[in-house]
Amino acid sequence: MPVRYAYHPGNVAHSSAPEVDETMRAACRSLDVDLIDMPGATSCGAGILGQANRRLQITLNARTMSMAEDLGLDIITPCATTAATLHEDLEMMKSDPSLMGEVNKTLQKTTGRSLEGSIKIRHFLHVIVEDLGLDNFLKKVKNPISSRLGPYYGPNLQQEGLVGGDDIFDPWYMESIIESSGGTPIRYTSRTSSAGTPGIFSEENTVLRQSATILSDAKSMGAQMIISACTLSHGVLDIYQGKASRSTGLNTNIPVIHFCEYIAFLTGNFPTRLAMLKTRVAVIGD
């Protein structure tokens, strides 16, 4: 019996990170998870829109969440930022009835919608560990990956109320998946630290130092590849790693893939890409 969720792909899966959406859909097919699209859902604002107008961000997200409520489903997303932003806005409204009332007033006026706050926001990682269960997940693993893998969570996902049974500062959910799927999880302190992604445009030097520390930390602990549960940080850790290395002098050369890609590969999808990735790990690894 498939489990069903209302699907929010995150902020950049439609544009600069199409592999996230592509592999999320493939992985969920393999895991008997039904993704119900919400074609009217907007970007969550990623905390950026909130810097201009917090109420605006909350109201737009209330609109998206009301769509999931109409479907009677919780929201699933592969994007840590989206999970955190929707969760934070939802909890803020639930804890402040007057805010909820005002938001609903605006929603009613502009869209005819309203939000009760009955849904939950789930990241794909938590769905696998808590909803599907590791045992069930393992039955679907077809291509175990035996490399030394460094999980990266980032600070957005590791928030009270969002992490479920995982530890905010010393998480073990991704490590459990890696270990049970044949890999060796690398435990490094900065795996929950910020890569500085929201400041990549304006505070690039600081962000390069932050991301270089994470990359070199994972690498120095023996990781051959990083698995990122955060789509936006995945982009920075991947695309900017050469620049980060030149800026800091740290050794940052390491493949970074998204958690969805990892799960898709494990469940037997995109075998050619997996082969290319393994080759890359073998060639680039120090």
Binding site: G40, D170, G199, I200, S202, T206, D238, I239
Partner: protein
Amino acid sequence: MVITMSSELPLLILYGSQSGNAEDLCTKAAKEAKSHGLEPIVKGMDEIKISDLSSYNRVLIYCSTWGEGEMPDNAEDLWQQAQGDSLPSLTTCHFAVCSLGDSSYDLFCQSGKDWDQWFEKQGANRLVTRVDCDVDYDKPAALFTSEALSHLSVVDSSGAYDPSKIGEVRSVPETPDEKAIETDQNKDKIAVGGGLEDLLGTGDRTLNIFFGSQSGNSEQLASNFAKRAENYGLKGIVHDMDGFDINAMASMKRVAIICSTWGEGEMPDNAEALWLAASSGSAPKMDGVSFSVLALGDTSYELFCQSGKDWDNKLEELGARRVAARVDCDVDYEAVASEWASEALTMLSAVDDSGNLHEELIDSIRDMADGGAVVADGEDGFSIPDLHGEEVEIQLGVFRYDPHEKTSGLDTWLCSLPGHMTLLEALRSIQRTHDGSLCFTDGAPHDPNTAISVNGRITLPGITRIEQLSNGRPGSIVMKIEPLPGYDVVRDLCVDFSALTKKRQEASVWHVSKTREALRTDQGTLIGPMSAVEATKLHAMSNRFGSQILHSCSDSVAYANSYLGPSVCLDLWIKKSDSRTSDKKIKQIDKILSGPDAILAETDLAPMARQPLAGRGVQNALSEARTSALESNGYNGRHGKHVWWYAWTLKSSGRVNDTVLYRQVLGPLGLLSNLTSGVTARMLTGFTRTGGKMVNDILGLVVPPAGIGKMPKQFNKRVDKHYEVVSIFNTLDRRF
């Protein structure tokens, strides 16, 4: 199982013992039984008649086997009675048997087996399968005891057994009678608590520790134990035996002697003179002295620990009272010496100013030294919940930095610690017993200067218990303890806060009031009015642990030297939000806050939201400060443009368009920089990516209309019912 209030149920614990092992196990079981809400009644088998058994609903038996399957001496008579004709019915009795024996004999554990079968034959209900212990009985017997007590504790007063209640937390007395028992007990505990306070708080609490040392080991131990004495309410003073007057020792209340042996049973050099004085005919009487001796030696010598033995005998001979037995240590002495210290310090602490030994306070002293509180003061008999935690396996990694050698690294200890122990206690313990050079800031539990980072969590170690850090992770707890991030490390876990002080000075966070209306109070004084809403908001923003802690809660601080940090920014924002602040000061604050080194230099607020010592409130306040700064700057600069164009693209299609963001925020020079730095190439070629439509990215950057400032709609399909999005924007914010 945790039972916070006791409602005692009688439990008969019987022992048949030849060498004393079964009796010892009974004593331990009796202690443990109390924590299960049971009232233990310990009896030897020679202290009871067979007919008495019918009056007990719960019976726990420990019985050893003697010779060829024979009952131990003290069980013989009872067993003879058990073979008689008129035996009691035990149908309401529930029992469990632990049998002790030696598997090298043919009839292994026969006596226990006999009792087990006999109870069953009389109709009693066996709650736990009998366990037969060999000569290494400690562990299996302990496991048996725990399990048996769990089951016996759910036999109610009518003899009914309800296994579903095993593990339940009983927090409310079940009957008025039980409540009465509980109240009486609390009275007793309070009396004990008061006695301990009296003992610790009055008179001379000096513990004199003498060392006789040849190689320095005894001296080192004396120094360590003097520090530990504080935990027992004692003031440890270390004395070199060399040059000490034996008459002065006679006037002391508490004496601990740590003495090594040299050569063939000789005193170490520094103890020679004092020993001669103590052995002379003119040595004083020591009637008022309580003492204990730790002897160091080497078993490869014939007269092992002779010096310590001599001191032990001599003090007794002079009339002193031995309160804890001498312990003789071989070359691996640390662990044994530590155990002796625990016992000796406990016993010596129980000696009052008049030299009386208060045996009734010994358990309370142990609890105090272990960090556990027994009972709170107060007339209402309020009891502090049992905070004792299970032992937990820990891999403790502590950051070390030596400024002289300029070396750093991680020292790791594998240890088993009680879950209720605080991190600060664990650090003190390491410093005391393993590495005296470990540097950390000690202080009161809520002192922000003591803060450290544990696996990235900014923590006050004095209020953080070890068991709080396990959080469901399978296996042992792995802790990486590091100094507070964002500061220069002085040594190990100690940091220098002066960088923050300097930033606070630069930002001039001090309050400058404006002249304003005042109200006269009933007392005639003038006060400035403030609305309840504003006061509550200001208090909420100000309600946090120390500035130095908040400064460390940002992940950016350590990487941006000129950034003032969240602590300074929050203080500025609070001042700006305070209606009492002068207009001139607000202008100054605005200038700093909207500058490049204030809140706009923070790359990510999420790390602060998750830190327990900062939290969502801090994040929200700083977010408001950032919005204010962006508005002051008119959404100019890269940060402002990022926010502005993000909102603009979202309104345009419901989705963010990162192509537009890159182009608008970075501008031609930024894009060129990315081209030359490899960022663009990496983005376009998908160098590390495993798929993805690269053509979109290429088109987004180079093909009009992207290049002339219009949003490339070919990349951003509008969301369904996009007009709703526009309507929300237009209702709440028409700027975009």
